[in-house]
C-alpha cells in the first residue's frame, strides 16, 4: 500500500507534461521525438527509391547523360548543363536558412520575427516548386519524355549521321554521348542537335532514306557506324532505357510533393504564429521547431536527389 502511494505521489509531482512518466525520454518532447522518427521512416522511403534508381541504372547497358538531359533553363537558355538545377538547390538551401532563423526567433518569443522568416521560407519553397513545374513542363511538353517513353538515348558506338536523302553528312558523334529523338511537326526548343525542324521535309510515317518516322511521330535519324564490330552498318536512333522517365517523375515528384505539403503546413503554422497562438502555449513556439525539422529534411533529401539524378 505504502509503496504504491509513493509512486502515485511522484507521478503527480513530476509527471506533468513529461510523457506522464516523470521524466522525458531523451530529454526532449514527445512531438519532436516522433517527428524525428517520422523523418527516419521517410528517409528509408526515399532511400528505397534512390537505390531502385541505382539498381536500374546499373542494369541498363546505357543511361542518358544527366548534363545532356538537364541543360535547358527558362528564357531560351540551352546547352547550359546543370545551371537551372543549381539555382533550384540554392533556393532550397536559402529557405532552409530562413527556417533556422524562424526557429531562433521563436525561441526568443519574438512573434513578428517568426512570421517574417516563415514567410521568407514559404517564398523559397514556392520558388522551388515553380522551378520544378517549369522543368517538368519542358520535359513533358517540349522534349516528350513520359513515364513510359524516354526519347533520350545514348550512342553505343561512334558514327556519322545520314542526310535526309541518305548520304553521309559531316555530323559525327562518339560513344557515350546522348541524343534526343524529336517529334515531327513540333517545336523542340532547339535544345539539341539534330535536323528535326525542317518543315519542308516529308515526315509521313514510315521509312525514309535518312530517317524513320514511327507511329507516334518520333523521328529516328539514321547513322552509319564508323567504329567497333558493326562498322559500316546503317542503324537508327533507338529510345533510351524506359525506366529513366518513370524514375525521374516518381522520385522528383515524391520530393516535390513533400515540398508542396511543407509549404501548406508552413503557411498554416505562420498564420497560427501571427495570431499569437504559440505565445499562449506552455511549450512556446515548439510547433515552429517541429516544422523546421521537417523542412530541413526536405532540403536534406534534395541533397541526395541532386547527387543521384544530376551530378553522378
Amino acid at each position: 500500500m505504502a509503496t504504491s502511494d509513493t509512486v502515485l505521489e511522484q507521478q503527480e509531482v513530476q509527471g506533468q507534461d513529461a510523457w506522464s512518466g516523470g521524466k522525458a525520454p531523451f530529454r526532449t518532447s514527445y512531438g519532436k521525438l516522433m517527428m524525428w522518427y517520422f523523418l527516419l521512416s521517410d528517409a528509408f522511403t526515399f532511400a528505397g527509391f534512390l537505390i531502385a534508381y541505382g539498381a536500374l541504372r546499373f542494369s541498363s547497358p546505357t543511361w542518358p547523360v544527366p548534363d545532356f538531359v538537364f541543360s535547358t533553363a527558362p528564357f531560351g537558355v540551352h546547352h547550359k548543363p546543370l545551371i537551372f538545377v543549381t539555382i533550384m538547390s540554392f533556393l532550397l538551401i536559402v529557405s532552409s536558412v530562413t527556417m533556422v532563423r524562424a526557429v531562433q526567433e521563436g525561441e526568443k518569443e519574438n512573434k513578428n520575427g517568426v512570421v517574417f522568416w516563415m514567410l521568407m521560407t514559404i517564398l523559397g519553397g514556392a520558388g522551388f516548386l515553380s522551378c520544378q513545374a517549369w522543368e517538368w513542363t519542358n520535359l513533358i511538353a517540349t522534349e516528350h519524355m513520359s513515364v513510359t517513353t524516354n526519347p533520350f538515348g545514348t550512342y553505343t558506338e561512334g558514327g556519322v549521321y545520314l542526310t535526309p536523302d541518305g548520304k553521309e553528312s559531316d555530323e559525327t558523334f562518339e560513344v557515350g554521348e546522348s541524343y534526343l529523338i524529336h517529334k515531327a511537326h513540333e517545336g523542340h526548343g532547339e535544345a539539341e542537335h539534330g535536323e528535326g525542324g525542317h518543315a519542308e521535309m516529308d515526315y509521313s510515317q514510315g521509312d525514309h532514306p535518312g530517317y524513320f518516322v514511327d507511329e507516334r511521330g518520333f523521328i529516328h535519324r539514321k547513322f552509319k557506324v564508323t567504329e567497333g564490330p558493326d562498322a559500316g552498318m546503317v542503324k537508327m536512333e533507338e529510345f533510351g532505357p524506359k525506366a529513366f522517365g518513370a524514375l525521374f517523375f516518381f522520385i522528383t515528384g515524391f520530393h516535390g510533393f513533400h515540398v508542396f505539403s511543407g509549404v501548406i503546413f508552413l503557411f498554416i503554422i505562420m498564420i497560427n504564429a501571427a495570431s499569437g497562438l504559440y505565445m499562449k502555449r506552455r511549450n512556446g513556439h515548439e510547433m515552429v521547431e517541429k516544422m523546421g525539422l521537417y523542412w530541413h529534411f526536405v532540403d536534406l533529401v534534395w541533397v541526395f536527389v541532386f547527387l543521384v539524378f544530376y551530378l553522378l
Binding site: 547497358p61 547523360v65 541532386f306 547527387l307
Partner: protein, 145 residues
C-alpha cells in the same frame, strides 16, 4: 535547446549558408569537370570519373551531416536520440551493396538473353515421334559444334 547565445547562433546560421552554397558550387564544378565540359579531354579518363564520383558522394554526405547537426540541432540533443535516429540508416549500406549487385546481375542476364535470341535454329519444329514437345526447335548442329 541551443547552448549558444542568440548572436552566436545567428552567426553560425549565415556561416552555414555560405558553406552549403560553396559546397554545392564545388560539386557542380566537379561534376562538369568529369563530364568534360571544362576540359574536354578529361571525359576519357575513367579513373577520374570514379574519383570524382566518390568526391561528390563525400561532399553530399558532408552537407547532410551539416544540415542534421547544425540546422536540425542534433548536436544539442542527447546521445541516445542521435543514435536511435542515425544508427538505423547504417542498414542502407547493406541495401546499396545488395541492390547494385542485383542490378549488375540483371545486366548480364539481359546480355545472355540477347545472345540466346541471336542463335539460329533448324527449320520447323521437331518431328512428333521424339519425346520433345511439338513446338520445340533444335539448334542447328553446325552452329553449336
Amino acid at each position: 535547446m541551443s547552448h549558444l547565445s542568440y548572436e552566436e547562433a545567428k552567426k553560425v546560421v549565415y556561416r552555414g549558408l555560405v558553406l552549403l552554397a560553396a559546397v554545392t558550387l564545388v560539386e557542380v564544378f566537379c561534376s562538369l569537370l568529369a563530364k568534360g565540359h571544362v576540359i574536354h579531354e578529361l571525359k576519357y579518363i575513367t579513373w577520374l570519373h570514379y574519383l570524382i564520383g566518390l568526391t561528390l558522394i563525400g561532399l553530399s554526405l558532408y552537407k547532410a551531416y551539416f544540415i542534421i547537426y547544425e540546422f536540425m540541432h542534433m548536436r544539442y540533443e542527447v546521445k541516445g536520440l542521435a543514435m536511435s535516429v542515425l544508427l538505423p540508416t547504417v542498414l542502407l549500406i547493406w541495401a546499396i551493396i545488395a541492390f547494385f549487385q542485383e542490378g549488375n546481375s540483371w545486366k548480364s542476364r539481359r546480355q545472355q538473353i540477347e545472345e540466346k535470341n541471336m542463335e539460329e535454329v533448324g527449320e520447323g519444329p521437331v518431328k512428333q515421334e521424339s519425346m520433345l514437345l511439338p513446338d520445340t526447335y533444335i539448334l542447328k548442329l553446325e552452329e553449336t559444334f
